[in-house]
């Protein structure tokens, strides 16, 4: 077991936990948090697994970087929508 595989394994556990949280949480905010954690888990797998197989690789790094940007902007959009929704009288935890 290399350290990279260990990262990947941890990433998998994180993904599993966050998927559970995403599916079971009622509150929309909690769901968003779960999504972010899930993202982190996926990124861990993404970096860990290829390096375990093929050695040091710049491509996953670049990919994860892009992924983080996407995840951040998605989170921002979700937050905006969530706030507007609550202001419009919506219940965040239906």
């Amino acid at each position: 077991m290399t350290i990279d595989l260990w990262y990947a394994a941890v990433g998998a556990v994180i993904v599993a936990l966050s998927v559970f949280a995403f599916l079971t949480s009622k509150h929309l905010m909690k769901k968003l948090l779960a999504f972010n954690i899930m993202g982190s888990g996926v990124f861990l797998i993404m970096v860990g697994l290829p390096q375990h197989q093929h050695g040091v690789d710049p491509v996953p790094q670049a990919l994860v970087l892009t992924g983080i940007v996407v995840a951040v902007s998605a989170t921002a959009l979700a937050l905006v929508l969530l706030r507007r929704y609550v202001r419009a009288g919506g219940n965040p935890a239906p």
Partner: protein, 485 residues
């Protein structure tokens, strides 16, 4: 040539974001003309010179972004440009009643186009991911435009589904890259073997994409989002956006993972499709709101697309070819027809001031063109001739016969009847003589753009050869995907 199709929408997205309001209106038409023109030119180029690879900024894969324009992608590009153009024309008149929404509509619209074009042209799995995310975000933004409580809720549900789906997809990408060290679709399709890693990766990606495509039983987010959005938005979402994730799904199953998928899995996908057809139709038959009817109709029609998998996997080459052709035609026909239907319905709702189907009496006298557009698109959806929908159904039926899969044959026949059942609910009441409400006149452009799309759905029945022959120009597809390379 190829990157222009990404540059144009992105440029206009930024322009419309920055320019003052009256300028925005002024550049809509030039932008559309450019976009359509570029798509058509690319089509012709591909038609004459065959598929092209293009490395963006001369950065080669894996770090660079490679764009692949083959017959399939240019067909979809052209489709996107056409439908988007008509929806934009419609939106221009439709949004005069929504000044605030108009401000945000156009940037989102162009981003959406850029995302779609990016997906059609993407040559590797990660670019697909980026395209999917951009697509999801702009689509959610468009759903949320009116910023009412219900639409915000719908947008949030949509967003969460899209995000979850994207991550599932990304996890699959990670596994595949881990296993094979490449993201290129062309390379993966040669390398991916039937081992657990590939299958798990495929399963993850499939779940994500099924969620994004709103395939039964993961369709819960679609009806509120599509049914609640503004008419031009609904049209774009139903016609194009859900097709993007299906496109990736088809790519995964028939190209990337062609060696790893099993017949049983394909049959299970088909079962989901059948479930979508029956459940979506039933819901459409039940609902009271016209826009929900159309949205559920999308759920049902997406089910036909899923039949591609059982019909094309594990069968003879001829049958697979038929299934593939039928699915392409269905995708195109549904895009035209559903866009037309949403636009027509939008006009009708605008005229009536409400969307209750049972109070549609008198519409046939005051808004005949819109109703006619609805009717023509319904013809295609029901799979009645002459229409693109019929040709698609015909090819799928032939494929089912060729591979002896009678259960799918029956599903498709019944599906057509179910479609008729819910579509004719609308006609039935529209022929009622007594108008219960004041019916307003609508701008002719609204009616005519819907009619134009509907006519395209019908015309597709006569020019099916064109997309099908374009389809054959492919270098990324193996035999199962499109015949002679």
């Amino acid at each position: 040539m190829t990157p222009i199709l990404l540059i144009i929408p992105l440029a206009f997205a930024i322009l419309t974001l920055l320019l003052p309001r009256h300028w925005v209106r002024a550049i809509i038409i030039p932008g559309l003309v450019l976009q359509v023109g570029a798509a058509v030119l690319l089509c012709m180029e591909i038609y004459q010179h065959g598929p092209q690879d293009y490395a963006l900024g001369d950065w080669q894969a894996p770090l660079g972004i490679s764009l692949i324009a083959d017959g399939f992608s240019v067909t979809l590009l052209a489709l996107t440009a056409l439908i988007a153009a008509l929806c934009a024309i419609y939106a221009q008149y439709f949004l005069t009643r929504y000044p605030r929404e108009q401000r945000y509509f156009w940037p989102l619209f162009w981003f959406l186009l850029a995302a779609l074009n990016g997906i059609w042209l993407a040559g590797d799995l990660f670019n697909l991911y980026v395209g999917l995310e951009l697509l999801g975000l702009s689509a959610v933004g468009m759903v949320a435009l009116t910023a009412e409580k219900t639409t915000l809720k719908a947008a949030l549900d949509y967003l969460y589904a899209a995000l979850f789906g994207s991550l599932a997809y990304l996890a699959g990408v990670a596994l595949l890259y881990g296993a094979y060290g490449t993201l290129s679709i062309a390379q993966l399709s040669d390398m991916a073997a039937a081992n657990p890693t590939t299958q798990v990766a495929l399963a993850l990606m499939t779940v994500g994409l099924l969620l994004k495509t709103a395939i039964f039983p993961l369709h819960y987010w679609l009806p509120p989002a599509h049914g609640g959005a503004l008419a031009p938005v609904s049209a774009l979402l139903s016609a194009l956006v859900v097709k993007a994730s299906f496109y990736i799904l088809a790519l995964l199953w028939l190209d990337v993972g062609a060696l790893a998928v099993t017949v049983t899995a394909a049959q299970a996908m088909g079962a989901l499709g059948a479930g979508a057809i029956f459940w979506g139709s039933w819901q459409a038959f039940q609902t009271r709101q016209i826009k929900m009817l159309v949205a559920y109709s999308t759920v049902a029609q997406l089910g036909y697309l899923m039949l591609l998998f059982p019909l094309a996997i594990g069968v003879s080459e001829a049958a697979a070819q038929l299934a593939w052709q039928g699915t392409i035609l269905h995708l195109l026909a549904h895009a035209f027809a559903k866009a037309a239907m949403f636009l027509a319905v939008g006009t009708l709702v605008l005229a009536l001031g409400h969307g209750r189907i049972n109070d549609f009496g008198g519409v046939s006298q005051r808004n005949p063109v819109a109703l006619f557009a609805f009717g023509l698109s319904a013809v295609s959806l029901m799979g009645l001739p002459p229409s693109g929908g019929f040709n698609a159904k015909w090819l799928l039926l032939q494929s089912a016969i060729a591979s002896g899969q009678w259960h799918w044959f029956v599903v498709m026949i019944i599906g057509g009847l179910l479609t008729a059942a819910y579509v004719f609910r609308v006609f039935r009441v529209s022929f009622l003589q007594s108008a219960k409400h004041e019916i307003q006149d609508t701008h002719p452009a609204l009616q005519l753009s819907a009619l134009a799309l509907a006519l395209m759905a019908i015309a597709l029945g006569f020019v099916s050869e064109l997309p099908l022959s374009l389809m054959n120009l492919t270098d990324i597809a193996p035999a199962t995907m499109g015949g002679t390379p």
